[in-house]
């Protein structure tokens, strides 16, 4: 196999700065297309600002017969999930010394930064009066933070943005210093900012700081991130039986890790082709990521099963109504079939290595991303469509996102990719350590694979 030769090649520092030094026509073409998509959505968003949220297909739940939260909030959770999953994976790589995945670590961190920006954007897009966001929130913050899960949410998103940015900024210093001579002069002012006060003596300290930050992230993940504050937005609301319940914490966390792994597979697959990184994102690395995707996908499906069984067998009236509706929803069925197909592939290639193909892994990853996004939007919609107060059931309720809402998914995916592609032109998205240490780790890697 051709890839065998590629894997035998040693990764070098020259490899990781290739995206910064060489820019192909394809990159410009991609930027052009993505900008067009992003601009189209921004125009739609502008239209929404002008007309109000009436341009969405959202409505009042209750006698109004609609749902007041829909695609925007579903997509918000999805982006936060990817972001939180990304930083958790990167922290795990550092904390548990998983050197095999070290090349993916910074990519995961950057994914956190870009995905978190998209989730922040969704908060703004979702609001009736985004112009008041800062003034209103800041004014009452000391009191609302004691009572409102949404205030906790804003706090945690801000906290994680700061932590991730710090994490990246710290670890970038070493790479920038070492590679500076080979980086383009035109970006010198940027590098000078990154390197303010740098001395070689700090490397050890920085390493330790990054380790502690990683520890903090891992510990806080289930408590505050996608295992805590984000699911609490829903699970603390007893009015909605589809949301209520302690299972939402683990459920959200499993979805976060699943989506983040899927996202990483997509990014490593794409950059491997674009920058000849066959010897960095080897089949072995992609296979490893695929196996991890399998484990978290299984958890996701397992927790879905728990909810459905609890909602159907001898359940209270309203939880049974929600779960019946959920199960009979074709979009939900499609999402679950996709998850099962992905799992079938992943376990087949785990048992029989010849089944593995990185293309199939990419397809599985994309399928999982669509499935988690659909599940999240349905979760929001069905929770509101089947409240505890059942007298509204006869009000004909339906929700399918409007074009303005749908365009936001395309728009944020485009924006996120744009951000990513621009960052790739400024800094190495693979840590220098992971190519420097290659000699020492190569033997272990084979064993641990």
């Amino acid at each position: 196999m051709a890839t065998k030769d590629a894997e035998a090649k040693e990764p070098e520092p020259a490899d990781i700065i290739r995206p910064i030094l060489n820019t192909s026509m394809k990159w410009y073409a991609a930027i052009g297309i993505l900008s067009a998509v992003a601009l189209a959505w921004l125009a739609a968003f502008g239209f929404q600002l002008q007309e109000g949220l009436i341009v969405t297909n959202l409505a009042d739940w209750g006698s109004g017969g609609g749902v007041t939260w829909g695609l925007y909030i579903g997509a918000f959770i999805w982006w936060v999930g990817i972001a939180h999953g990304g930083i958790i994976l990167s922290a795990a790589v550092r904390l548990f010394g998983m050197t095999k995945y070290q090349p993916v670590a910074r990519m995961a961190e950057l994914l956190t930064l870009t995905a978190l920006s998209m989730s922040g954007l969704y908060i703004v897009v979702h609001m009736g009066r985004p112009d008041r966001l800062v003034t209103s929130v800041v004014n009452a913050y000391p009191w609302t933070v004691q009572s409102s899960p949404l205030a906790w949410d804003v706090t945690v998103i801000t906290l994680y943005f700061v932590m991730t940015a710090t994490y990246i900024a710290l670890t970038l210093r070493y790479d920038t210093y070492q590679l500076r001579d080979r980086l383009p002069d035109i970006l010198d002012p940027l590098y000078r900012v990154v390197l303010i006060g740098y001395s070689e003596k700090e490397d050890e300290v920085i390493e330790r700081m990054a380790w502690w930050l990683a520890l903090g992230i891992i510990v806080m993940a289930p408590l505050l991130l996608h295992g805590g504050v984000i699911p609490w937005l829903f699970s603390l609301i007893p009015s909605m039986p589809g949301w209520d319940g302690a299972i939402q914490g683990p459920q959200f966390l499993s979805i976060a890790l699943t989506s983040a792994l899927a996202g990483l597979i997509v990014i490593s697959y794409t950059t491997r082709i674009a920058y000849d990184w066959e010897h960095i994102f080897t089949d072995s690395v992609i296979r490893g990521l695929t196996n991890w995707l399998g484990i978290f996908s299984l958890m996701f499906v397992w927790l879905q099963l728990q909810q459905i069984i609890n909602g159907l067998f001898a359940a209270h009236v309203r939880p049974e109504v929600v779960m019946t509706a959920k199960l009979s929803n074709t979009i939900y069925q499609m999402a679950m079939v996709t998850m099962f197909l992905a799992l079938a592939y992943i376990f087949a290639q785990a048992v029989k290595p010849s089944v593995f193909s990185r293309h199939l892994s990419l397809v599985a990853a994309l399928g999982v991303l669509v499935a988690t996004l659909s599940e999240k939007i349905l979760f929001v919609f069905e929770g509101l469509a089947y409240p505890e107060f059942g007298l509204y059931d006869q009000v004909p309720g339906h929700y399918s996102p409007s074009l303005v809402e749908l365009s936001s998914v395309a728009g944020t995916v485009a924006l996120c990719t744009l951000m990513y592609m621009v960052i790739m032109k400024l800094f190495p998205i693979i840590e220098l350590h992971s190519v420097e240490d290659h000699d020492d780790d190569h033997d272990n890697e084979e064993v641990s694979a």
Partner: protein, 491 residues
């Protein structure tokens, strides 16, 4: 007296001792408690209160310690025979720089403990009284107020004040057995508030309970919960509970339109203003001033101006909480705060839906102060219980009001069926219903409505519909040809 009632003259919170009512950060009520405690002692309560007031000024840095000591030195000698505090003979013993850094209480303790002429016990006794005088304790400083549940005036709370601290607790008794589904209350509400099509702040269900043929009605305004989940979850405190009377209101100027209140409310009473309101602001009766200017007025002046304008938009705090919301923020039944604050032609203690229900001859809605035993809802409920206890009278029911005087039959207790909606969600709703509670399998029967929403007319000429979604989707399409409202339902 609650924080809400205090004057709202500035954007910045007024320092409490500047208000006439109370100098204490915890308000007049606390102050009264302090006074009565002092009056129980052998010492002069007036002097104590005066000193406490100045102590607050001292803490705020407007009085120096020297000035403070000097002012009260003589009084203290009179009161306690001797003033042990550092202004007298041994002033030199006190390290004033140090005293500035410490709380005064600590400074005093240092000095007195060093003075071996005074027995420790006697000194502690005096210090105890002194501490009470000075209002020292956990709440001595203005800053520490922020650590308490009390919030400054520009940020509202999420609970009504305790019973002895509030003026009213507005609520309703709704007699479902008297409701005939005429929807007069729905029209009354729209006329009062100018709500947009489909935003039925007052909504009446026509429903069947499982396995029965009986037609039932459920009148559904906002439940104005004392433990309101909507206020709890609001990330900006736009949705709040007015502490003086428990009304659950939305400050339209603060709301960011995140709709979390709507999500958290178990009753589905919220209606968001998705587009421009159907009734323009000019058509609403209101004081034509910027909200911040209204708030900056002094309380009496504000009340006068609001009354002159027969204002239906601001409440007595100068907050924009009444009538329909503007675009992009949340609205719901308000229980007419401008009526309860007495600056409209309508009487305090009434609401528009009740007036309409009375006018229609139904009198199913009884609004009033639930804290007041003599209020309309309480007396009505009491009377209904009595009638229920007397089988003979029950047969006649409301045919002849004079028969009400007949003594009740000796039933051990009332058989009247009352309930509150979804009470087990711990929302503490302030609406009590008389009649049967809808069962878990009850379902609405829109086709059996005696009067249809679509047939209602109102003062504004706004269309009325039961289900708003269709209308909003239509609105979306009307605004944007590129936005087809795909109609296939997922449910």
């Amino acid at each position: 007296m609650s924080a809400d009632d205090a004057k709202d003259t500035n954007e910045e919170p007024t320092h409490p001792y500047e208000t006439e009512d109370s100098f204490h950060p915890l308000g007049a009520e606390w102050e009264e408690n302090m006074r009565s405690e002092l009056e129980d002692t052998e010492f002069d309560a007036d002097l104590g209160m005066e000193m406490a007031r100045d102590a607050q000024r001292l803490v705020a840095g407007e009085l120096s310690e020297e000035e403070f000591y000097a002012e009260y030195h003589e009084d203290m000698e009179d009161e306690f025979d001797v003033d042990e505090r550092p202004v007298f003979d041994d002033i030199d013993d006190v390290d004033l720089d140090k005293a500035e850094d410490e709380s005064m209480f600590e400074a005093l303790t240092d000095v007195d403990i060093e003075n071996e002429d005074v027995s420790r016990r006697e000194m502690m006794k005096k210090m105890g009284a002194g501490a009470a005088f000075l209002g020292y304790g956990a709440y001595a400083t203005y800053d520490s107020q922020k650590e308490q549940e009390e919030v400054p005036q520009q940020v509202s709370g999420i609970r009504p004040a305790e019973e002895d601290g509030r003026e009213h607790r507005w609520g309703m008794v709704i007699d479902l057995e008297r409701c005939d589904g005429c929807l007069s209350c729905v029209t009354g509400c729209i006329n009062e508030n100018g709500t947009s099509t489909g935003a039925n702040w007052m909504y009446v269900f026509t429903y069947d309970n499982h396995d029965t043929e009986q037609q039932n009605f459920l009148v559904r305004p906002c439940q104005h919960c004392s433990n309101a989940p909507c206020a709890k979850v609001c990330p900006v405190r736009a949705r709040h509970v007015r502490s003086k009377d428990g009304l659950v209101l939305t400050d339209y100027e603060i709301c960011i339109g995140c709709r979390y209140c709507q999500v958290a409310c178990p009753y589905g009473v919220n209606y968001f203003q998705w587009g421009e309101p159907d009734v323009p602001m000019e058509e609403l009766e209101h004081l034509d001033m910027r909200p911040e200017d209204v708030r900056s007025l002094d309380e009496d002046e504000r009340h006068t101006k609001l009354s002159e304008a027969n204002d239906h938009v601001y409440d007595d705090r100068g907050r924009w909480t009444d009538s329909r919301p503007p675009k992009g923020v949340m609205g719901k039944c308000t229980m007419c705060p401008s009526r309860q604050d007495e600056h409209t032609d309508n009487e305090k203690g009434t609401v528009a839906c009740m007036d309409a229900c009375d006018e229609a001859g139904m009198s199913a809605i009884h609004f009033g102060d639930l804290d007041d035993e003599e209020s309309r809802p309480n007396t009505y409920l009491e009377r209904r219980k009595e009638i229920e206890e007397s089988p003979k009278e029950k047969n006649k029911k409301f045919e002849d009001p004079e028969e009400y005087e007949q003594p009740p039959a000796p039933h051990p207790k009332s058989q009247l069926s009352t309930f509150r909606l979804l009470e087990d969600l711990n929302t503490q709703p302030n609406i009590t219903y008389i009649g049967n509670e809808p069962g878990p399998h009850a379902s609405e029967t829109p086709e059996e409505r005696p009067v249809h929403y679509e047939a209602l007319s109102n003062d504004w000429g706004v269309n009325v519909v039961a289900e708003r979604k269709e209308h909003l989707d239509y609105g979306a399409r009307a605004n944007d040809d590129n936005t087809p409202g795909e109609e296939e339902g997922e449910a």
